[in-house]
Symmetry: C2
Subunit: 400 residues, 2 copies
């Protein structure tokens, strides 16, 4: 059977990334990999999860945990999240919250909510690869979001119309973004809001790394800034996507979306149609663990990851040749390296696998326009000090 | 903010169903409800799940359970499923299997895989409401699948072209379908395959209830019949969707799709973009429980549900007035009632909530063309004998 004849047109946009294929080769013991962007499993609060699951089965809640549940999500978990949101300057109630299967699912649903084929999504160059992957299924065009830049709202709108649709939202990862590690400052957040207000579009605020700040002052989420301006979440156009994957554990697939009720109620219908609800038992376990240890555990994560970041930055200063620059993230898991112009990150990785055996992610895939060839992403979340020293020394040798 | 201005066109197809709103009123203690279609939580293998989760945390697998995992799904679970598929006449290997978050997610992904706006899905009148809900997000047209009927392949194709697309697949729930309880016989399965071969379209075989057969001979799945014809799953156009929700527990959200590798590899990319993977820990728990107790547990479920079905059929024979007919399912959870022509199931439910206080699902929502007003769905999965007696007596009084 020739499947391509019956596949939807969107399938042309959903290809295996070359990088993902390349990264499959990295499971070899002599390779030092800074390619992954995943939490260190040795830091998982496994004992707390063990207690949580045991507690669910020892009490009267086991049948509830194994049964179908509402698409909105487990109410006690939504209550806990509402409390946390309040602390961030986002007063809301549980009807402003949808539980998703990771914040990745939030991005997929928001692409589905807003994008008809040909509509435009405003994203950074570079931006989170997984956001582009999620949105691609809905066949959008991309335009470059440059908050505080000199393009007018009318210019964005005309560009989108010329491509056969309308601008629907601006997407940004605000704190220690994947891949750059950079944080949008207060002025940048205000500028995005002002642009979105002028264009009457949504703002998707990806806050996956927000809790992992290692130094510097926290900047209020865009949604908090908008609520401060407009008085209530119901008047706001910003949609906040959160995740437990970087703080508690990704394997349970629990994240959330916070927004005005018309958005949440539409997403609830979407979730009902797409997978009914996220795992009941996992939502209950996450609620128990979050209520018990969240702040203490995140404090512990910050200490460990901060030290790894510091160590990688120090090693980069030691080993990078002239002409190579990098970001100094205040949190998260990533450092973004800009190589001399004309150098290509994918070529460099191919060469590295033959010679120095140090792995990273070439930066082009994070760019909706396929620019960024001379960039690479390093993650410091999984590596101990000795590995960082050895790996960055290898990278230095590779670049010399 | 006027959200409707920025929503995608598909959102017009994703409305709250009136029936779901009506059914929210049913949580009142004096109502006898046959409306739900969910497993009896008293029958969940809770002790086996308790052991499974405890085992995951007592061994060396806890960090794996809490970590990200591959989009394809947990390999030992896929191996167990491949073994079960083999017993059903579907020899396959683990690369023919994708783990999904319930079979509902399989339906969503298959809609996404095949349907561009205006394409046609062939479905039964009636069909599973949740399939229509999942497919609607991709803005299809529907045409009525009548295997063995007298419409030609050319007629289906011309009808679809006139609606602005092409026929992409035929969807059917094959055993004890939701909502009718009916089973497609061998001739019907052969006819669907022959039609699909002639049209060069996919067949989506929804097998959610397959294990719950209470009597009669099992009929091979459509995919098994096709493999017998064509020699290998790789030559087949049938895509089989399975679920643990009716056999082990729905709250963990674990189902699967079995198909030729070009389909599975495309669905894997889709899953990676949409939610990365289904819950790692839940896949591990399901694998442990399935390996330990699956056959024995399903045998126990069959005994209990068979008796409830028998009791409901007996009570219907006792209480239904002339002119009312119903199906005699060989398995599953549902009996489908046809009321005298001109009577309306939704009106009857509204009347029932005021008088007899017995609940059911009006049948119109299961019909893509909004026909079927004189039908209702009863579920026998949740009710004990006394409740069935009292409830069917009330239904009889309502209809008299």
């Amino acid at each position: 059977m020739d499947w391509t004849q019956v596949f939807a047109t969107r399938i042309a946009r959903m290809k295996a990334s070359e990088i993902r294929e390349l990264l499959k080769l990295l499971d070899q013991p002599d390779i030092i990999s800074f390619a992954g962007g995943i939490p260190d499993p040795k830091l998982f609060p496994a004992a707390a999860f063990q207690d949580a699951f045991a507690g669910i089965f020892s009490g009267s809640s086991q049948n509830e945990a194994l049964q179908y549940s509402v698409s909105e999500g487990y109410a006690p978990l939504r209550r806990w999240i509402a409390g946390e949101m309040g602390k961030l300057g986002i007063p809301c109630d549980i009807d402003n919250i949808l539980i998703t299967s990771g914040s990745q699912q939030g991005l997929d649903y928001l692409g589905k909510l807003f994008l008809s084929p040909g509509d435009t999504a405003l994203v950074g160059w570079p931006t989170y690869l997984g956001a582009l992957g999620a949105f691609n299924a809905y066949e959008p065009q991309y335009d470059r979001l440059q908050p505080g830049g000199n393009r007018s709202a009318a210019d964005y709108a005309e560009t989108a119309a010329a491509k056969g649709g309308a601008v629907k939202f601006a997407y940004m990862s605000v704190d220690f973004a994947n891949p750059t590690g950079e944080t949008i400052d207060r002025a940048g957040r205000d500028a995005v809001l002002a642009l979105a207000d002028e264009m009457n579009i949504a703002v998707i605020e990806d806050a996956a790394y927000q809790s992992l700040r290692y130094d510097g002052e926290a900047i209020p989420p865009i949604l908090a800034l908008e609520i401060a301006q407009k008085g209530s979440i119901e008047a706001c156009r910003t949609i906040y996507c959160g995740s437990f994957s970087k703080t508690l554990a990704p394997g349970l697939r629990v994240g959330w979306v916070v927004a005005a009720k018309p958005v949440i109620s539409q997403l609830v219908l979407m979730k009902q149609a797409a997978d009914l609800h996220s795992s009941t038992i996992n939502q209950m376990a996450i609620a128990r663990v979050a209520e018990t240890i969240f702040d203490d555990h995140v404090a512990k994560l910050r200490t460990v990851y901060r030290s790894r970041r510091d160590h990688m930055l120090a090693q980069l200063a030691l080993h990078m040749p002239e002409g190579v620059t990098w970001t100094k993230p205040e949190g998260g898991m990533f450092i973004w390296i800009t190589l001399p112009r004309g150098m290509d990150g994918a070529d460099l990785l191919a060469k590295s696998l033959k010679t120095q055996r140090v792995a990273f992610v070439p930066g082009r895939a994070f760019h909706a326009d396929s620019s960024g060839g001379n960039t690479i992403r390093l993650s410091f979340s999984l590596a101990d000090e000795a590995t960082i020293e050895a790996g960055i020394a290898r990278l230095g040798a590779l670049l010399r």
